[in-house]
Amino acid sequence: MLNHAEASEKFIADAERTDWHDETLWFVREKRDKASKVLPEWEALREHASLIKDHTLANLHDYLVAFEAKAQANGIKVHWAADAAEHNAIVHGIIAAQGTQVLVKSKSMLTEECHLNDYLANKGIEVIDTDLGERIVQFRNEAPSHIVLPAIHLKKEDVGETFHQHLGTPKGNKDPQFLTEAARQHLRGHFLASEVAITGVNFAVAETGEFVVCTNEGNADMGAHLAKVHIACMGIEKIIPKRDDLAVFLRLLARSATGQLITTYSSHFHKPREGQEMHIVLLDNGRTRQLADPKYKNSLKCIRCAACFNTCPVYRRSGGHSYHQPVAGPIGSILAPNFDKKANADLPFASTLCGSCSNVCPVKINIHEQLWFWRQDLMAEGLAPAGKTIGMKLMAFTLAHPVIYRLGGSLMRRFSGVLNSRLNPWYKQREMPVAPKASFQEWYKNR
């Protein structure tokens, strides 16, 4: 597997596509700016949302138990999963009881996190992702590259070719309207036939036992309303105390994500309709571990809007797949090490710490500070690339001893020519600064 730097270099090699990717996502960031700046109370809303989430995380146990009781009273079956394996087994058990072979699923990053599709495929069950972007990447056997815009790494020509191969659309047709209609016809058959529908969850309300699913395509509703069995999968951090709180979060979510005022569909699932089964699976999968660490706890406030992706100058130029994780971007880089430190030790370094992410975040997660904390923790665990630890210790020693620093500086300036070498990554595409004869301190001594 390529690390972030290697995968980015490959991505950037196609400069034209990189520019297109950067400009497309910057356009989304600008839409977000406009939508947020028409609200004089925007910063107060962010603060309010952040406080609601802080309060909820501080009382997570109580709210989860309250939600379970209300949901059960509403007739929803509630399941608890400690990890991805348990989650997948629970979902499979429900599907197997129906004898279903093919089912529909709307967007759920949580099921990506659990690799549910692969798990079910191994059991002979096919999952049809019904979000348009997700269906496109599913056809291509790729992972989503963005949590809100899963196929943002692809151009319409790529989608045309994919649909030609999988849906039999005419070769060379890249008309978005035409291709969308082809997908719509293709998905409609699956909506009508599917007896089981899986959805994600954006918010679960402890006060009422209902959950809310936000989509722009209505695909979650089409699946859930037609199927005999609805399975909703959520991380335990998606809980909010009251229905009123939605007035804060729904206003922030779509504005932050795409610059829309609100998602096209914000559907409340309160209880199963007559004859329907409704299940909700509540997953931990490392979230309580994150909750227990004060440095990283508030990463659980995330509402998955992806504003931090769109604003991130690194993400825009490296693409989602360079993060080799279901959730890419700045938020992914602070969530991923909690799952696997060694495999994701590169991600907290895939940032200039510019801080733009923390300032667009609608729930005020201090993302860039958590990136810094992860850097410390990962290096303390010995996960530095070869040579880095020795280099850093040498630098720290030099800078702690003024005499050695001055000697080293003077040698470096005198022999700076050796740095003009292909072995120096700086020099690959940049000139080295011209070394002056005297350092400032040398000049100052003779002033």
Binding site: E43, L399, M432
Partner: protein, 237 residues
């Protein structure tokens, strides 16, 4: 007013003219400037690379050089932010200022005898802007302000031009500039493209590290555009 001039290591070694301009400017404005002679570095290169645990010696050296001063002033937003956020001594954390904020917030200067009749592109360094709040940021819904522009407004003849994305990162990012070389350079090239669109003569900012990165790209491109630290403009008679 007695002020200790903090000269970050790479400015000392590679950009002495920035330290000279800082010294001269502060003296012109009536400060008694002391340059502690055994200063080296703020410790940020190690800390941002995940080795904050190795900066004790560097931190102690900084304390030894600077703890006797109520005003420690440095021409680098990034180094100053690091000290404010991470230096173990509370006295140091509370006494350190980036030079622009020192001029606007402590000295509160309202005039300067400076002249620089050129088109300059303003580069917002992230740590100065978002970290030290030297100016408002495009992410927030807030009243626009800019300490850098307030200061440049005191310079005769200067024409300030802003890139289309007014506060996007240049991609320097400390050791990021070599560990993520491809993204770093691409980010820098994209910044420069926007400044080129404004036909600027100079790219000006309050962080020499960003400028060093962009200068490296400009020179490789054979560009005539030069970089200058803002103190070089403010000190330009």
């Amino acid at each position: 007013m007695r002020v200790a001039l903090f000269v970050p290591c790479y400015i000392d070694q590679f950009y002495p003219q920035v330290a000279v301009a800082s010294l001269e400017l502060l003296e012109k404005l009536g400060c008694e400037v002391v340059v502690p002679k055994d200063q080296t570095c703020c410790g940020q290169p190690m800390a941002n690379s995940g080795f904050a645990s190795s900066t004790a010696g560097c931190d102690a050296n900084f304390t030894n050089n600077f703890e006797g001063f109520d005003y420690i002033v440095g021409p680098s937003g990034s180094c100053v932010l690091h000290l404010k956020e991470h230096h173990p001594s509370e006295k140091i954390r509370n006494s350190v200022y980036e030079i622009c904020e020192f001029l606007t917030d402590v000295l509160r200067i309202t005039s300067l005898n400076a002249k620089f009749p050129h088109r300059i592109g303003l580069h917002q360094s992230c740590h100065g802007q978002r970290g030290l709040r030297l100016s408002s940021m495009s992410e927030r819904n807030e009243k626009p302000f800019s300490k850098l522009e307030d200061l440049l407004g005191l310079v005769e003849g200067v024409e300030i031009l802003k890139p289309e994305r007014a506060d996007e990162c240049c991609g320097f990012g400390g050791t990021f500039c070599v560990t993520e070389e491809a993204v770093s350079v691409k980010m820098g090239q994209d910044r420069i493209k926007e400044h080129d669109a404004n036909a600027v003569e100079y790219i000006v900012g309050a962080d020499t590290s960003c400028l060093m990165h962009m200068e490296g790209i400009l020179r490789r491109q054979g560009s005539k555009v030069q970089v200058k630290h803002i103190v070089e403009i403010l000190n330009h008679a």
